[in-house]
Symmetry: C2
DNA sequence: GGACTCATGCTTACAGCGTAAGCACAACCT
DNA sequence: AGGTTGTGCTTACGCTGTAAGCATGAGTCC
């Protein structure tokens, strides 16, 4: 049996390390995260962290898993057989989770999600969507496409340089540099803010994707069988 | 006038520095790029690079611009007034450009594109799409959504850890760990490879997005969401 | 009790990083 | 010629991730 020997001196643990790292990133941005500073925040030397995390890369992977798990946690089990509304919820829940920790987003975009929880979640979703009538391959396609789009969109939204706010789409800052004769449309965009609303743009694109895939599966089966999928 | 004074000793230039950096990243991955190694590859000390680039961040920005410019260069001017096919071409051209330099992709995803060329290109596209009948806001939406999706999809495609290949969707590597009773669908995915073809998935999703937006402009010349007013 | 095991956290040390500051030189202009 | 300027090198600083080894104290077993 696994006998519990030796007890923490400073109450450190993998979970606490991850929590602290997330705090640090939320507060000061991803580039400001170093093992020494992280240790300092926990009242501990940098090397002590290596008892709970094999290296910094693994720590970052852990952060990705953690953020993804919150996206799933707010989600629950897919209920009913209207997969289109599950997916919409999933997309928005994922975006919320990503926006809650913008500093981690580049990591999420860049490394695989390996957590067992995520695997279990994928399995359950695939099962549910098949049960709702989608072919396996198509089910995987929709989920992946929604996830990839959400990540791409949120990356653009959170904006560029990690650890730097810039709530405005940064086009504004150089609107002064733009020659009105050469860039009339860009200037009109800035002036009217047409097409600059991330919320509605995201919702609209997700709807388009979902109804598009729904249309695919309808036609592929016999017309009239699956019926209404609209919103 | 700009008088050319002082001539390079080792024939260095901003362009050559960017070229070398791109080579280095293509060959050994993004994390392996350091100013010292880059200098060494150019037969020069690290500090010499700072005569041509203000700092490493700016160098990375330059790489992003460069890759984006190749995407535009393979594209040409939008011709005719079928904006749907321009956009499809744009999406695939962007994906090719990104796939050509996978190591740069995390940078593209993470920092703004500031190059004047990109601005000019945006302006021209907006003008052309308006001329083809799209409201300004919608035109910007479609282009942005396509770009964001392409970046998100390609990020997932190129895979995770930068500087590491892994052509297989890395699910394979742990297929042995999966309990067939618990993960029947995931295992079927791995076995049949259903939904694992990046090329066709990307093409399909892009088509769905474009025809979705095309449908919007057809149907809704006035019942659009909040901002959709004609011109 | 005493001995042993072992997880924990600290200390020290090293190689590598980005880059600030200042110097030496070569090419050009006047 | 003298001055100016662009170029590249040298040195140095503070920071990074982490390898290696040690001290401590809690827990188990005799």
């Amino acid at each position: 049996m696994a006998v519990r020997r030796g007890v923490p001196k400073a109450g450190l643990s993998r979970e606490k390390v991850l929590d602290a790292a997330l705090d640090q990133i939320d507060a000061h941005g991803l580039p400001a995260l170093s093992m020494r500073k992280l240790g300092a925040q926990l009242g501990v030397e940098a090397m002590s962290l290596y008892r709970h995390v094999p290296n910094k890369e693994a720590l970052l992977d852990g952060l990705v898993d953690r953020v993804m798990e919150t996206a799933f946690a707010n989600l629950g089990e897919p209920a009913g057989d209207d997969w289109t509304s599950w997916l919409r919820t999933f997309a928005h829940s994922l975006r919320s989770a990503l926006l809650a920790h913008p500093g981690v987003l580049p990591l999420v975009a860049t490394r695989p999600v390996n957590s067992p929880d995520a695997l279990r979640m994928s399995e359950r979703w695939l099962a549910a969507m098949r049960a709702a009538g989608l072919p396996l391959g198509r089910a995987l396609d929709v989920v992946n496409v929604i996830a990839m789009f959400t990540i791409g969109h949120t990356l653009a939204e959170v904006g560029q340089t990690p650890g730097h706010e810039g709530t405005e789409p940064d086009l504004d800052q150089r609107s002064g540099d733009l020659d009105p004769a050469e860039f009339p449309n860009l200037l009109e965009v800035i002036a009217t803010r047409a097409g600059l609303d991330f919320d509605s743009r995201f919702a609209q694109a997700v709807d388009i994707l979902i109804t598009g895939y729904a249309g695919l599966t309808e036609v592929a089966l016999d017309p009239g069988q699956q019926g209404a999928e609209g919103r």
